[in-house]
């Protein structure tokens, strides 16, 4: 694609990213939400993170693959325990990427 067209596409992406971030804070700030809605919203972060993460770990080419060649899944098991034990984003990212790199070095996975 032409770089000028990519430029305008990025501008469009910026608009559709900013509005959903902005409107709720402008219109709901300081309002007390009904307790049920507030409880629901508190569960959104774990839900959204899991929804983005889990398919990328389990699915390979349109089916669930837990074989040893699915490095993303096995590295995730270790990364989860690192995150759990040290509670460090940096350690989790470095260990995760390091394991995938190491696995590939030894010819495992994709």
């Amino acid at each position: 694609m032409d770089q000028t067209l990519i430029f305008w596409t990025i501008v469009g992406m910026a608009v559709v990213t900013y509005l959903p971030r902005l409107l709720p804070t402008l219109f709901l700030s300081g309002r007390t939400l009904r307790p049920l809605i507030a409880s629901w919203l508190r569960l959104v972060p774990p839900a959204v993170l899991a929804a983005m993460l889990i398919p990328s770990l389990l699915v390979r080419e349109d089916s669930v693959d837990l074989g040893f060649d699915n490095l993303f899944f096995w590295a995730a098991l270790v990364a989860f325990s690192v995150a759990w034990k040290w509670n460090s984003l940096f350690a989790t990212v470095v260990v995760g990427m390091g394991l995938v790199a190491l696995g590939r070095y030894f010819g495992l996975g994709m």
Partner: protein, 214 residues
């Protein structure tokens, strides 16, 4: 500080991938400056590389980032007394990562405006620094896979998710949502699975919470 360190390798991975996918250096940097959304930027780079048209890229970005609306709404009650211009700036840099940190200290947000905004600025600064390093390295790195750079985003989500799972109900919610997202993805929903699984997962989690409290 942890967010700074966590962001640099991921911004780096994005910069390298964008360079490899044929985005110009200026456009790669621009996206980190005006879009600032980790997963959407990775997805967009993939779409550009496969020759997807502008309308589809923008629509995908919208759907993938719609979750920020729920995140913004969940922080909003704590942003009491903030002026509109601070809200506008705060929202601009609201991402999965900054949101996770803010929501873990949400009770203090109304009095810690300066800290909250500086955290956002630091986060975007390190994202941009990572991007610039990635753009520079993109010409030097032949293939990203031996470095595991394509795993950066997933590893970051793992770190953030574990930080969010401080009660059994939250763990159950994450499992529901993750399973539903996987099933929808397998059924061929490659964009809307995130937002649908989030809504259904959080609702089921709320049901469990109410059921336990009874």
């Amino acid at each position: 500080m942890p967010i700074v360190l966590g962001y640099v390798p991921i911004g780096f991975a994005y910069g390298v991938l964008a360079g490899k996918s044929g985005l110009s250096e200026a456009n790669t940097l621009l996206m980190s400056l005006i879009v600032f959304a980790g997963s959407a930027q990775f997805i967009a780079v993939g779409l550009f590389a496969s020759g997807t048209g502008p309308a589809a890229v923008i629509l995908t970005t919208f759907v993938v980032n719609l979750r920020h609306m729920l995140m913004a709404a969940s922080l909003a009650p704590y942003l009491k007394g903030w002026k509109k211009r601070y809200l506008a700036f705060f929202s601009y840099e609201l991402t999965d990562e900054t949101f996770a940190l803010h929501s873990s200290a949400a009770g203090k947000l109304h009095e810690c405006r300066l800290e909250a905004i500086s955290l956002n600025i630091t986060a975007q600064f390190s994202w941009v620094v990572g991007t610039v390093l990635g753009i520079i390295a993109s010409g030097l790195i032949g293939d990203i896979k031996p470095l595991g750079l394509d795993y950066a985003l997933a590893a970051m989500f793992i770190g953030l998710l574990v930080g969010q799972c401080e009660s059994p109900v939250r763990v159950i919610t994450a499992i529901f949502s993750g399973v539903i997202a996987t099933l929808l993805y397998l059924a061929g929903w490659h964009q809307f699975h995130i937002i649908v699984a989030t809504v259904v997962g959080a609702t089921l989690g709320l049901g469990v919470e109410l059921w336990i409290k009874r």
